[in-house]
Amino acid sequence: MKRIPYFLALTTLASGLFAAPLVVYSERSEQLIKPLLDRYTEVTGIDVQVLTDNAAPLVARLQAEGKRTPADILITVDAGNLWQASQSGMLASIDSDILEARVPDYLQDPDNQWFALTVRARTIVYHTDRVKPEQLSTYEALADPEWKGRLCLRTSKKVYNQSLVGSLINRLGEDNARAVVDGWVNNLATAPQSSDTVAMEALLAGQCDVTLVNTYYLGRMQKNDPTLPLAIYWPNQETSGVHINVSGAGVTRHSKQPEAAQAFLEWMVSDEAQQIYASLDMEFPVVDGVALDPIVSAWGPFKPDTRPVYKAGEFQRQAVMLMDTAGYR
């Protein structure tokens, strides 16, 4: 496995001498991807240009541009949008032994139109003064009456919560999932927050005791202040595992240089790229054996939910409707 990057570097370097720049449409913020693209240029000599926006406008732009698109690669920060991009026919299937070998099956599109590049775990964060980890168990249990007035949640308009509720529907069926969401809404201490960070700040201020966040948001806060009285709890370890989402990428259908685009994705799952990519935002690599950021490894290992992540896309619409009718804003 270690040899892959070098081999890649050689082959791509040769083509890089004449190649046009690779163009990436990215939902991932520029500061969280640029260092990695710069490194790719360093290694291969291939220039990479990036355009950032939300996934929906980027997919709309791909559709509008059609064959004229300059884009070779689409990167999004959740599986739902990747699923949507593949549904819209804007991605091409990739036949790559490297990607197949390095990215676990549940983290890729069944039709190989996209592959996860990092894993993002959505988990429980609690205030260490007011909650003991023994009191916590599962996402579902946060609907119990003992959390009345103690729960904070980010808005249902964020795709991470939509995927989470989608996974509940997938796992428990719609009626049970609805009961859970109803319970959450009942337990809310205040109206849903606009971001995971704001929700954790409400925990710190004492407005609530538990919330659900993507781990890297806590990582960023702990980086600034390691003494924060907030801790991670990995839920559903006896059952389904921690809900995960992904950031991932695919090659666009109308890319002028699909081989170069594929080579780029293959480099993205190399050990070096995985380490840079995951540590840029304190996410989890998709490849085993890559060193974690010290803050991330301090959270300890967890069992992830290994149901295929593309299901998030399939259940998204149902999940949003369910949250709307449950009054989860």
């Binding site: 308009k157 939509q162 201020a205 709307d324």
Partner: protein, 530 residues
């Protein structure tokens, strides 16, 4: 000859209107298909509460900006007090602050984890948690960034007040209150309404601020339908409903506008120099307003900027120049087009063309991303058409030209609103007299039309500059590679809820945006009575 000239003018006018309104009318095509289950869900669960919320917001922000805008315009026009010369100009500067930036600043200060509530709880633990993310909070924040439109346009109207009528009323023994509401207010009404229309269009289009406060409006539903339900078609359908509202709003405003009568022989009203208690009170009100709208937010941003990594400033040099360059180019292009349209329009009352005018203004009232995407689709059709039929390869998407055209679609209304007043003040009789005396069209333009309309053109130029510097959604989607702007740098961090990192680009953006505003600021009138 006359017929062909008229035809040529009609064609120019119609072409411009179609180009500008094209992408928006394009949204109507989405009505071909209907996602029935989704519509059912929207109507059952969201429609009416969202409309109610949107109305609350429009009424609240309309009231807030009117009180602030008309009130401050009146005080600075009527009285002279400590700092009044500076305040007269400075009170328009909050326009340089993007509403969502004002939103995250005020939430940063006032939310449960902010310094204000933390202090309150430390002093009085019984206070508990005050909900800052309240509808009132959104109204508060938006009123403080949008009131300058009302201030600016009513203040222009005040400065044209005719003293003689007011003095007659005073001699007839009318009370001050009665004079204000019965005589003065009707005279400033067109200015107030023009400002209010701009305020309402921006309020309808806002997504960033309401999202921070978790306040769902019709516009957030458009985003939700597109981003979460993956239905661009339904989002376009909802947008076209919003467009209808904006169209009615503009039509209503245009009707009131036609009542403007300008009397160039009016005698200006002398301001009054305040002393003692009154001077203190009026100064306090105006300085507090500036403090709330501008000084407090800027101090908070400066404070956050010091916490951000020191190298941030270096990364902002290129975006700064990009912002400036785009703003200057866009302002030039848009002003020229808006000027041509006003020039063609001002002396003709052509019923067909008149109806086209509101169409060209709709871009300002729709959510930015929707305008950006429909512009993108529009460009791609133009590109395909040119390539397939005329074999000309043109790239608009992802070029500076394309971006400038997108700004034209979005901000045309702002520029033409700024020109309305100048052209309305031009008297046709002067132009006609000059023509009778044998002056050619170019001479008439240079010596009569241009001197009278120059202030309006300058206003359009500078206002568009500030708006382009603030613009985000179109820049985000349509910019050429490497053309990052300051607004984009702010978004890059606010998107991740990292306010501290967003502070320095936001501060630089605000400073850059205040420069054109300061050049264009209203000046204090000279005549003062003791």
């Amino acid at each position: 000859m006359i017929v062909s000239k008229k035809l040529a003018i009609r064609m120019i006018q119609t072409g411009l209107a179609i180009f500008i309104a094209g992408p928006l009318l394009y949204l109507l095509l989405y009505w071909w298909t209907l996602d029935v289950p989704l519509w059912q869900h929207i109507i059952e669960n969201q429609f009416f509460p969202l409309i109610r919320n949107s109305i609350i917001l429009l009424v609240g922000v309309g009231f807030g900006t009117s009180v602030l805008g008309v009130g401050l315009a009146w005080l600075t026009y009527r009285y002279r007090f400590t700092g009044s010369a500076f305040l007269t100009g400075a009170l328009i500067l909050p326009l340089a602050i993007p509403a969502y930036v004002q939103g995250f600043i005020y939430l940063g200060i006032l939310d449960v984890s902010g310094p204000f509530q933390t202090y309150l709880r430390a002093m009085w633990p019984d206070v508990g948690f005050i909900n800052a993310r309240h509808p009132f909070g959104v109204i508060w924040v938006m009123s403080w960034v949008l009131y300058p439109y009302v201030y600016l346009l009513t203040r222009q109207a005040f400065s044209k007040l005719d003293r003689s009528q007011i003095e007659v009323a005073r001699l007839a023994g009318f009370s001050k209150r009665r004079i204000f509401f019965k005589l003065i207010f009707p005279m400033i009404r067109p200015g107030w309404l023009a400002g209010l229309t701009l305020v309402w269009m921006e309020t309808l289009a806002d997504f960033g601020t309401v999202s921070l406060f978790g306040f769902s409006t019709f516009t957030t539903a458009i985003y939700k339908t597109w981003f979460d339900f993956y239905s661009l078609a339904t989002a376009a359908q909802l947008s076209s409903l919003l467009m209808l509202v904006a169209f009615l709003l503009l039509w209503w405003e245009k009707r009131s506008e036609s009542h403007i009568r300008h009397d160039s022989n009016s005698t200006p009203w002398a301001a009054q120099r305040l002393t003692g208690k009154h001077r203190f009170l009026v100064s306090l009100v105006c300085w507090t307003a500036l403090g709330t709208a501008l000084i407090v937010p800027v101090i908070q941003l400066v404070y956050w900027s010091f916490q951000a990594p020191a190298h941030t400033l270096q990364t902002l040099i290129d975006p700064f120049w990009n912002s400036v360059l785009l703003a200057v180019m866009a302002a030039g292009v848009i002003t020229v087009f808006a000027y041509i349209q006003s020039l063609i329009n001002y002396r003709r009352t052509d019923p067909v063309l008149d109806r086209l005018v509101p169409l060209t203004k709709l871009g300002y009232a729709l959510p930015g991303t929707v305008v950006a995407v429909s512009t993108l689709l529009w460009f791609s059709h133009i590109e395909t058409f040119l390539s397939d039929w005329l074999h000309i390869e043109v790239y608009l998407t992802g070029t500076v030209l394309g971006l400038l055209l997108a700004y034209l679609i979005r901000f045309f209304s702002l520029a033409s609103q700024s020109l309305v007043d100048s052209f309305a003040r031009m008297e046709l009789s002067v132009n006609d007299a000059a023509r009778t005396l044998g002056a050619g069209p170019w001479k008439r333009f240079r010596q009569i039309v241009w001197p009278l309309t120059r202030p309006g053109a300058l206003a359009a130029l500078l206002l568009v500059c500030t708006e382009v510097i603030k613009e985000l959604p179109a820049t985000l989607l349509l910019r050429p590679f490497g053309w990052d702007t300051l607004a984009l740098k702010v978004y890059q961090w606010t998107n991740e809820a990292m306010w501290v990192n967003a502070a320095m680009p936001a501060l630089l953006l605000i400073i850059t945006g205040t420069l054109p505003l300061w050049l264009f600021r209203p000046r204090e009138e000279k005549n003062v009575k003791a």
